[in-house]
Structures are given as C-alpha cells and as structure tokens.
Amino acid sequence: MEYNFQWAKMFSGEPAQWMWEGFNTTLQISAIALVGAMLLGIFICLMRMTPFKPLQWFALAYTEFFRNTPLLVQIFFWYNASHFVIPEGINEWMNDLYYWFPGPFAAFGHDFVGEWVLFNVELITGVIALTVYTSAFIAEEIRAGIFSIPKNQLEASRAVGLSFLQGYRYVILPQALRIVIPPLISQALNLIKNSSLCMVIGVTEMMFQATQIESYHAIPFEAFSVALMIYLAISLVVSFCITMYNKHFMIQVMY
C-alpha cells in the first residue's frame, strides 16, 4: 500500500484553522479545570486533615475512588448519567447552554466579537470530569508534601512559642510548598494530556480536531503527527521549567 504524504495540506486552509481552534480549546479546558482542581484539591486535602472523623472518611473515599477509576469511565459517567447526581434545575440549564464567553464587547475604541470560550454541555461535563479526577491527585500530592516534613519541626516551632497556625504558616508550609510544586506542575501536564480524552463526548479539542481533519481531508498520519508535536512541545517546555525550578529552589530545603 502506497502512502502519499501531503504535509503542505496540514499548514494551510481548513486543517490549520481547525488545529488552531483545537489547540485553543485544549488550553481553555485545561486552564479552567486546573484552577477548579487546585481549589477542590486543597479543599479535599483540608478535609482529610481535619480531626473530624466522618469528614476524613469522606475525603479518603473521594480520593481513593477517583484515583482508582479510569478517567474515560468518569467522563462517560458525567456525560451520560450525571442527571442522577446533579440537581435537575442545573442539569436542564446545562443542557440548554450555548454561550460564548465573554460575548461581544467594546474596549479601546474597538468592537470585539468576544467568541473565546464556547460554554456548552460537552465542555462543561468535560471540565467537571477533569476537575474531579485531577483534584483527587492534587489532594494526595499536597498531603504527601505536608507529611514529608518531619513532625518534630511542628513540635519544635510550638516549643519556640509559635501558635499552631503560625507553626504551619512560618515553618511547615514554606518548606512543604517547595516540595509540592514540581509534582503539582507535572499534574498540570497530566491534565493537559488527559484533556485529550474529552474528545469521546465531542469537546472540540485538539484530538477531536485531528480526527476531524483525518476524516474530512484523508491525511490521518499528518494530522496526528502535528497534534503529537504540539502536545510534545507543551510538555517539553514545562518539564524544562520544572528542571530549572528544581535546580534553583530544591537546594534550600533542609531537614
């Protein structure tokens, strides 16, 4: 079988435009989900560390469940079966949703179209799934970071006369955050890679656009190669940043 490479087709006209749109959507869903997952993850981690037992059990069950089920199954769950979990009013609102953010607006003497993020039910369910899945991992990373600081440091800071919160604020957290940040960044990278799974429910991100180009223009190998290069570029840049960060800051951690 002879395969006819047509790389030029990839970089002009419709394929290039679709790829660019897909790239934007990938970044958008990753950014929204990352912010959500950080907040939710910190919240779950706090729950896990409260002295109140039922909250601890809930947080433990949450992290264990979402870490041990595949993201794909979770996406299918949120897309097909969420109406049993999400209240009916919100669910109907989500299904009717078709809203460009921020919408048309005028600034600096120009009229902007404002069609940057298309909020529809697919994007929202995809973001929910990514947020919940990643938050379980983030909660675990933060907890591991805090527990990696020996307990006697807190005891010592209490003995020096700091209060419990001050001990955390001035002694534990400054060290723990340094340890936590590189794994958190690699979680963010995983999130960007995992966002490719959202294509199964029809979020128009980069993988979806690559399959779209494959079926409309019959250039499968080129389409997927370009998508692969973009993902690779994102993660190589970020992992280079992590390495630089480690070189500069990890030396200062002492314990």
């Binding site: 395969y3 199954v73 299918f76 079966a81 494959e214 190998f221 993902y231 690779l232």
Partner: protein, 238 residues
C-alpha cells in the same frame, strides 16, 4: 432504578463473549473485564523489558546508548496515550503495508507507553541505591556489567516492586482507552449496554467504575503493604 439491567448483563461486563477452544491462542473473542486484565498483563510484560532496556541505557555513560533512551523516554512521557494509539494505528499501514487489528495496536502502544514510565522507575531504583554498593562491587573485581547483574539489579528490582505495581494499576486504568478504537473490553461493554438499554446509564456506569475500582484498589493496597515490608530491608547510606 433499573438494577435488573445491570444484573442481567453482569456476566457480559465480566468476560464479554469469551470462548475457549483448541485453536492456538485457545481463547477467542475476549471481552469485558477479562480483556482489560489480559491487555494490562500483556502490556506490563512487554513494558518491563522495554523499560529495563531504556532505563539501563539511560544510565549508561556511552552517548550512543544514552541519547536514544533519553529521547524515547522524554517523548513518550510527553504525549497522551490516546494520541499515541491513534498515531500508531495510522502509522502501521505506512510502515508494514497493511493495517493491524485494533487489539494488537493497543497492546503494542501500552507496551511502548508504559515502557517509558518503567524506564524511569528502573533508573530511579538504581540511583536510589547507595553509591558504595557499585564501588564495592567494582572494588571486589567484578566488571561493570557483572556488578549491575549480580549486585545492583537484584536489590534495585526488589525495591522497584511497589512502583511497578502502581504502574500496573495505572495501565489497568489506561486499558479503557482501547474502547475508543473499538476493542471489546470493560468500558466498551459499558458503552454497548448503555446504548442498547438507554434508561440505565447511571447504574451501568457506576457498576463499570466499581469494577475498575475493585481491580485497582486491591492492587494499590497490595503495593502499599509491599512498600512497608520492603523498606525494612533496604541498603541505606546512613
């Protein structure tokens, strides 16, 4: 609620339409959770050898061994598995002139993908050993290869077992991606039953998630137990 639908299809979730007979692989039309487990086991088996080679090559001092290993590990770790599967699915016809069946494609991609992560585990496992171990082995007259073979690897491999089990868990979760290419496995059976019955989405997906959870959680707890046991017998610096 329609839990009866789940109960009726539960055997389908577990082993799909698996048939046993006397023709070579002896097992045909594997599906359901059985298929997920088979894919994960095949994948981790291949990934172990690929990862071992890549990890040791990355530790080597010769640049012509080191650079390919670094390129392989960093590239594979930087791309989503789904993209790798699709890419390879369309690369195979270009390379070998005919398209591969979806099952072989995905299993091969699992090996390549997990191999890179196992390579990092191998490297970390070897680097975590105290430096004196290698020096003492070299000092007692073993060559570099012999020192690796008889002193470093036996210890490093044992310390790597927990991370290895974790990687197996994450591969088990990743087998769900095979359903996108149409391989019959647990997620695929879920999609099929959900689309056929239409009223039992919640029950079906909770069941599928529960089955995956059961599989992965048992392995995760096992790896935690192993970690606690093994950490007592580790060679340490201090």
């Amino acid at each position: 609620m329609h839990w009866d639908i789940v109960i009726d299809n539960f055997d389908y979730f577990l082993w799909g339409q698996t048939k046993f007979d006397l023709v070579f692989p002896f097992i045909h039309d594997v599906g359901g959770m059985l298929s997920a487990v088979i894919m994960a086991v095949l994948g981790i088996f291949g990934a172990f050898w690929i990862g071992m080679a890549a990890g040791l090559m990355r530790l080597s001092k010769k640049w012509w061994l080191k650079i390919p290993a670094v390129a392989y590990i960093e590239m594979v770790r930087g791309m989503p598995l789904l993209l790798l599967i699709f890419w390879f699915f369309f690369l195979a016809p270009v390379l070998i002139g005919q398209s591969l069946p979806a099952f072989s494609t995905t299993v091969f991609c699992f090996m390549i993908f997990t191999g890179a992560y196992v390579g990092e585990i191998v490297r970390a496992g070897v680097l975590a050993l105290p430096k004196g171990q290698l020096e003492a082995a070299r000092g007692s007259g073993l060559s570099q290869t012999q020192a690796m073979r008889f002193v470093i690897l036996p210890q490093a491999l044992r310390n790597m077992i927990p991370s290895f089990v974790n990687q197996f868990v994450s591969l088990t979760k990743d087998t769900s991606l095979a359903s996108i290419l149409g391989v019959s496995e647990l997620t695929r059976t879920g999609v099929q039953v959900d689309n056929r019955e239409m009223v039992a989405s919640f029950e079906v997906w909770i069941t599928i998630a529960g089955l995956y959870f059961l599989l992965c959680y048992i392995l995760t707890s096992y790896s935690r137990r192993l970690e606690a046991q093994l950490s007592r017998y580790q060679a340490r610096d201090r």
